[in-house]
């Protein structure tokens, strides 16, 4: 299995941004979601972010809300999240879970970290958890040799950026705007400034997410970040596809167009 650090150092050596794709487990169903993971990896995605569908996704806009509601209504559970992780890492990518904190809390910190590690997972992104509240959880994550990925936002003070950077391993998730997923377009100048502020405190890789959906944006982000995260754009493509093979085709085209834009110039 691949680690998050390996993904970023390979990308750096090849002079491109690490391309990270988000898909919720069980969407639109387990079988097709596994096929979509293969498609993403086959078309240049370096790291798969598997979403743990949650009933109250307050950082997500309408596109992801609808997808996770659909996944939950089809009975998606933690075991499906770990299966998707296992599938992605076997297909050769690094795989992390994106989960709101309550499903992790309810599962049990130790049990969740262990289950993720034994599925071959590389780390966890927790959008509603700040390091200040994560002491016990961080211990379990470290004990199971997983990476802990926290977020910084354009509103974060320097003091908070330093604290988040210190507590993050693998990479730091830089939110490109103030808002939720898939509604507004990434604000390139805002996030460029944020990435520069993060770099004052750390050498760890930085990936930009929220509102990224076009190759043009990826090209801009390649000028200053180490990775880029795309979620809603893939889900929108899947939700608008007329059938399974159409879904695979549009995801392949989008992934490969985004991947082609990840190259760093000079």
């Amino acid at each position: 299995m691949k680690t998050v650090s390996q993904v970023f150092s390979e990308a750096k050596n090849q002079n491109h941004l690490a391309l990270i794709a988000y898909l919720p487990a069980g969407y639109p169903n387990n079988e097709l979601s596994h096929k979509l993971i293969d498609t993403l990896i086959g078309n240049g995605v370096d790291l798969i972010e598997v979403g743990f569908p949650y009933s109250d996704p307050l950082m997500d806009g309408p596109i992801i809300q609808a997808a996770v509601k659909d996944a939950l209504s089809k009975g998606t559970r933690a075991k499906d999240v770990f299966k998707a992780i296992d599938h992605a890492q076997q297909a050769g990518a690094a795989a992390v879970v994106m989960s709101y904190f309550n499903p992790i809390f309810k599962y049990g910190f130790n049990d969740f970290a262990k289950a993720l590690a034994s599925a071959g997972g590389a780390g966890v992104i927790t959008p509603d958890l700040i390091p200040d509240e994560a002491t016990e959880w961080i211990k379990q994550v470290n004990m199971n040799k997983l990476d802990n990925i926290f977020l910084v936002a354009p509103s974060s003070t320097d003091e908070r950026i330093r604290m988040v950077a210190e507590n993050s391993t693998g990479f730091i998730y830089a939110a490109s705007l103030m808002g939720v997923t898939g509604v507004k377009s990434a604000q390139i100048e805002t996030v460029k400034n944020l990435v520069a502020r993060i770099r004052k405190f750390t050498n760890k890789p930085i990936a930009v997410g929220l509102g990224v959906n076009t190759p043009d944006q990826v090209m801009e982000i390649a000028k200053f970040a180490d990775g880029v995260i795309v979620g809603s754009a893939f889900i929108k493509a899947v939700s608008e596809a007329s059938n399974d093979s159409d879904a695979v085709d549009v995801v392949a085209r989008l992934a490969s167009a985004l991947s082609a834009a990840t190259g760093k110039i000079g």
Binding site: M59, R77, I130, F150, R160
Partner: protein, 400 residues
């Protein structure tokens, strides 16, 4: 016995389980609130609004005829239903609206279930010249149509929320999404003692006027404290508001949750009695959830109690044993609502009726030598149609 507050924690409960993007706003809110609390100008302004706008202090009514059906125990009603806008909600709203001005923010957003908090927020926004947006679950806009019209008359924009279960929980999600997007010029005027720190502490402090007044009135008018204090609990703001003043006294405290069709049916909103420890809407507390932490939809005839979470201080007060929490079914609440109306001429909100029903049971235990002070948190005008349907009373066109 008062909960120790360290970084916004009540024992293991509370905290700030929110996106990093909101932390700066929560820090600012905490600082501004702590500064305002010590600022005589702020306190004078709020006290004047409480007196001349809300109509405080609210009286205590000795419900003598009702006490006969409650086992003879003396029943004393702290009349928050007489506040401007018809419930206790205005206490917190005026405090937070003044803070909004202090923070130089021009826009407030709020969630509402029954519509009482939305109406109170729209009212304060009109009074202080703030832009106001209220998120309300689509289900609730239907069962509380009167309050939707009230909010719009007051100049607020009401946005029906069509995601999730389309009730209060989803209205809070949507308000949080708005806040994270517009936090620079917007204050989230949260309506209960839930959510991330500092909301549970701040909202409690703005409501503690209920208990502080009631305690003084008890001593001045009755020469002693009550045997017990009772309140309904949804998120828990009116309950904390009256409990806080009595927490160090030798007075028993009772919180009544919405039992819906009965805890055993699974169709209820009794988070403390029928839920488990979890994290929802930014705080660790009790939550109605399944074995994998997915929130379970709550059920109650009372839109204001129909919420699968509860304020973290209540979780602490439950586990410490200081407050007794139990549940009241829809049927028990409706019966109590009708009984109080017929014996005292006071039509309370269905939320409040849960505390009335609980006190009838409690009265039978305490007996005629004791007294129960009930937080009469809201009036029932908004519930007339729901009650008429429940009791099969003809309304509108149906009247022959």
């Amino acid at each position: 016995m008062t909960a120790e507050i360290k970084l916004g924690k009540f024992g293991e409960f509370g905290g700030r389980f929110v996106p990093e993007a909101l932390i700066v706003a929560l820090d600012e809110l905490e600082q501004q609130y702590l500064a305002a609390k010590k600022d005589p100008i702020f306190n004078t302004e709020l006290a004047e609004l409480n007196r001349n706008y809300t109509g405080r202090p609210t009286p205590i009514t000795d419900a003598k005829r009702f006490s006969k059906v409650a086992g003879g125990v003396q029943i004393l009603l702290k009349r928050e239903d007489l506040n401007h806008t018809g419930s206790h909600k205005i206490n917190n709203v005026l405090g937070q609206a003044l803070l909004t001005k202090r923070m130089n923010k021009k826009r407030v957003i709020a969630e509402t279930g029954a519509g009482q908090h939305g109406v109170a927020t729209a009212t304060a926004a009109a009074l202080l010249g703030l832009e106001c947006v209220v998120y309300m679950g689509e289900e609730d806009t239907k069962r509380q149509a009167l309050n939707v019209a009230r909010m719009r008359l007051l100049g607020a924009e009401v946005i029906p929320v069509t995601t999730g279960s389309r009730t209060l929980k989803d209205a809070i999600n949507q308000a949080m999404r708005d806040w994270v997007t517009n936090v620079q010029d917007t204050h989230y005027l949260l309506g209960t003692v839930a959510g991330p720190h500092p909301f549970p502490v701040m909202v409690r402090d703005f409501h503690r006027v209920i208990g502080d007044e009631a305690r003084e009135q008890m001593l001045a008018e009755y020469g002693k404290l009550p045997t017990a204090v009772a309140a309904c609990v949804g998120g828990g703001s009116n309950a904390i508001g009256i409990f806080t003043a009595f927490i160090d006294d030798d007075v028993e405290l009772y919180g009544y949750e919405a039992g819906g069709d009965g805890i055993e049916t699974g169709r209820h909103a009794a988070t403390l009695t029928g839920g488990s420890i979890g994290i929802l809407h930014g705080a660790k507390s009790y939550v109605l959830q399944d074995d994998e932490g997915q929130t379970i939809e709550s059920h109650s005839i009372s839109a204001g109690l129909d919420y699968p979470g509860v304020g973290p201080e209540h979780a602490f007060l439950k586990d410490s044993g200081r407050v007794n929490y139990s549940s009241i079914t829809d049927a028990e609440a409706m019966e109590a609502m009708a009984l109080l109306a017929k014996t005292e001429g006071i039509l309370v909100a269905i939320e409040t009726a849960h505390a009335i029903a609980g006190s009838m049971k409690l009265g039978a235990e305490i007996g005629p030598t004791g007294s129960i002070l009930i937080n009469c948190s809201g009036r029932g005008d908004k519930d007339v149609v729901t009650a008429a349907n429940w009791f099969n009373l003809p309304v509108g066109d149906v009247i022959a």
